[in-house]
């Protein structure tokens, strides 16, 4: 009895540590993102600690709730968004370690959890009673529905392939970590896996509402869209949630495609140095994925229209994803 209580306590403690780290690195990466994009655009950009200042300032500010808004939903939506993003963090392997709440089928759980922050945004939009927010919420919903299919398809394809080849339990991040996809496939399969990776990289800006897929917030069209009425603490929660979500989402891609650790390669056996080396290596991997899918895309493209974005996800991404799936299957058959 005492032992299980003790391990529960450790788990809760670890959970809090992971959340704190998630928030910290989420905001840090946001700062790096802003600085680097600014440099790409020929600007100086804000200091890297700017997101921390933003959050601390927002927390001090008054939260204004519009008269016509559905008050409880308006206040609940940011909490739900942050909760969704936080729970997501617990199911994703971070810093080269297995996920805190790992267990059978955690990949499936993660796929469902990914919807919660997006749904919270939709709720926020509809509850704030502004026409801009309403249009933003509609767009967020359309985007969500459009990228969901290619997202699920690519994740499931990888998990299924690994499970099939190795005979280990599929839909587990630990299985993928033990048997990275690149080691299990032949030349045809590698092309398929690359295509699936591309699809996922393309979905990340959509999930995070970043240019070119920031239709739901579209500053010049909807003046901030779903979040137009949010201010103060409520807005700070969304701000933090988005940063946490960015880390979690990129960690999923890293967990699916690059679950390698550095410590075995360079031969560090001791537990603590190995943990530190793997943690830093994880942060580097996250940075690289973010750099390609968020920063470069943001600097190099214009915002799509909602119908164009929908077509890109629903038709182009799905077709590419299907092709990847078929290639993986052919790889199995051969």
């Amino acid at each position: 009895m005492i032992g299980s209580n003790f391990s529960l306590g450790i788990t809760i403690l670890l959970g809090i540590v992971i959340l704190a780290l998630g928030v910290f690195f989420g905001l840090l990466y946001l700062g790096i993102d802003r600085k680097l994009v600014a440099r790409m655009q020929g600007r100086i950009g804000p200091p890297i600690r700017q997101p921390f200042r933003d959050v601390s300032k927002l927390l001090m500010k008054e939260s204004i709730i519009p008269d016509d808004a559905i008050s409880w939903l308006f206040k609940f939506a940011p909490v739900l968004c942050l909760m969704g993003a936080a729970v997501l963090l617990l199911y994703v392997p971070l810093f080269g370690q297995p996920a805190l709440l790992e267990g059978s089928g955690d990949i499936i759980v993660v796929l469902y959890l990914l919807i919660i922050p997006a749904l919270a945004l939709v709720l926020a939009g509809f509850s704030s009673s502004s026409p801009f927010a309403t249009v933003g919420a509609q767009r967020e919903m359309v985007t969500l529905m459009s990228y969901e299919f290619p997202l699920v398809m690519s994740v499931v394809a990888i998990a299924w392939h690994t499970g099939h080849v190795t005979g280990a339990s599929p839909f587990l991040f630990s299985t993928l970590a033990a048997f990275p996809i690149w080691g299990q496939v032949g030349p045809v399969g590698i092309i398929g896996a690359v295509l699936l990776l591309l699809v996922l990289l393309f979905i990340i800006p959509g999930e995070l509402s970043k240019i070119p897929f920031d239709m739901a917030e579209a500053e010049t069209e909807l003046a901030g869209g779903v979040l137009v009425e949010y201010s103060g603490r409520n807005f700070a929660l969304f701000y933090v949630a988005n940063a946490v979500k960015a880390i979690a989402l990129v960690a999923i891609v890293v967990g699916l495609f690059f679950p390698y650790n550095l410590s075995p390669v360079i031969g560090i056996g001791a537990a603590i140095p190995a943990t530190i080396v793997d943690g830093i290596f994880f942060l580097v991997k996250v940075f690289l994925v973010m750099f390609v899918s968020v920063m470069v895309a943001r600097a190099a493209m214009a915002r799509f229209k909602i119908d164009q974005a929908s077509k890109i996800y629903f038709i182009s991404s799905t077709l590419v994803g299907l092709l990847g799936l078929i290639l993986l299957w052919i790889d199995l058959v051969i």
Binding site: Q41, V135, D214, E219, A302, R303, I306
Partner: protein, 422 residues
């Protein structure tokens, strides 16, 4: 029967609602209100509400200022085209009062006006990129624009409000020693012109966002008396520099640019407006180059003494019009002068955006909300030009008039001072 009608009414309430864009909105650089009736993402109807920054400038020109002061007032009608309005005004007054302008002054006027066109079109290109969420291009173009701003500062002493114009000529000469600096700017723009063209005409996302968006057909453009690049992009060969022989433009061979030069056909969409403006940058470079080469020598002003000029203007009797092709289109001024009267008897300003706003409902109907910023920006709207403060005697509940605000401000200063002393 009435029941059916009611049902229809409720249905309509459900399917369409109004989105107000403006008066303050990130997509608008200046205040205007577009009331959009939308159904989902599609725009059903648009109503344009202007007047938020009406400053009563024509009234000032007709009641308070002498004509020379009015030049500098006209310069401040618009924040961007600070040459176009004085240009048209001095032409109108010179015509009304019969003042001759030396040829050298005409050439200097044209050089300054064309430099302004380059700066204005580049500024627009940046704003347009920002409207479609392409901030990298926005920053790039505005960086490029600095070169012409520096050149203008070098010639006129200021980046924007250049105060070059005077009745009967210009106030500052452009000397031989200054030519190399101007040429350097022109060479710079010629060297990067292809690069700019590549970005704006070939980039895939820009193409996706601007092709077949905000279409204005040639017939509509003619019917609605649209002017400037907006009209030319619809295939209308309308350019004041081509039609009227005025200033040094009378010595140039300027043809109105329509987009079929590059694209082969005229669609009248946002993309075509980009094409026209890009080509006009090149045209402006050529005009400035020609002016520098052929600039005649001689005086730059027919009457340099302001007091004498004022006396002439006070005696003048007559009326005149001034037409200048501003970067956004035809800028039109009408002036009537009465002998013995200090201010102008009548001054009417017609800025290009005033005419082009008529095109907005036609352009936006049937488009998506996402197209509003870029389609609206594509006419390069300049609201401060269009509107020209009226203080209201009995302010609406909750609004304060200028005087009250001023007093409130004084009161706060006094209060803070008192607190500080304590």
């Amino acid at each position: 029967m009435s029941n059916i009608k009611n049902m229809d009414d409720t249905k309509e309430v459900k399917t369409s609602y109004t989105i107000p864009i403006g008066p303050i909105h990130p997509a608008l650089k200046e205040p205007i209100r577009l009331d959009l009736s939308v159904d989902g993402e599609e725009i059903i109807d648009v109503d344009v509400v202007v007047g938020q920054v009406h400053r009563g400038m024509e009234w000032l020109g007709m009641n308070r200022n002498n004509p020379i002061q009015t030049i500098y007032l006209a310069e401040r009608i618009c924040g961007i085209c600070s040459v176009s309005h004085p240009f048209a005004l001095v032409m109108a007054v010179e015509q009304a009062a019969g003042i001759e302008v030396p040829p050298r002054a005409e050439y200097i006027r044209v050089i300054i006006a064309e430099m302004e066109r380059i700066h204005s079109h580049l500024l627009w290109a940046g704003v347009a990129a920002h409207e479609i969420g392409f901030d990298s291009v926005f920053y790039l173009v505005w960086k490029v624009r600095e070169e012409i701003m520096d050149a203008m500062e070098y010639l006129a002493g200021n980046r924007n409000s250049k105060a070059m114009f005077q009745f009967g000529g210009v106030r500052r000469d452009i000397t031989e020693e200054q030519f190399p600096r101007v040429r350097k700017s022109l060479d710079y723009y010629l060297s990067i012109f292809d690069q700019l063209g590549n970005i704006f005409l070939k980039d895939k996302t820009i193409n996706m966002r601007t092709r077949n968006v905000g279409i204005l057909k040639k017939e509509d453009a003619l019917r609605l008396t649209i002017v400037g690049p907006t009209a030319r992009a619809s295939g209308v060969s309308k350019d004041a520099r081509q039609g009227h022989a005025y200033s040094a433009y009378a010595d140039m061979d300027i043809k109105a640019i329509t987009p079929d030069v590059i694209t082969g056909k005229v669609v009248g969409d946002v993309y075509d407006r980009i094409v026209v403006r890009l080509l006009e940058i090149k045209q402006s470079i050529e005009i400035i180059d020609k002016c520098l080469k052929e600039m005649p020598s001689g005086a730059i002003i027919s009457e340099p003494k302001v007091a004498k000029l004022l006396a002439v203007l006070k005696k003048a009797e007559g009326e005149g019009i001034g037409v200048h092709e501003a970067p956004r289109g035809e800028c039109f001024h009408y002036v009537r002068m009465e002998a013995g009267m200090d201010p102008l008897a009548c001054w009417k300003v017609r800025a290009p955006t005033y005419a082009n706003l008529m095109a907005i409902p036609t352009m936006l109907k049937g488009e998506q909300i996402a197209d509003v910023p870029i389609a609206f920006a594509s006419i390069d709207p300049c609201m401060s030009c269009t509107n020209r403060a009226i203080t209201v005697k009995q302010p609406r509940k909750g609004t304060e008039c200028l005087l009250d605000l001023h007093e409130l401000s004084l009161e706060k200063t006094r209060r803070l001072e008192a607190e500080f002393d304590r």
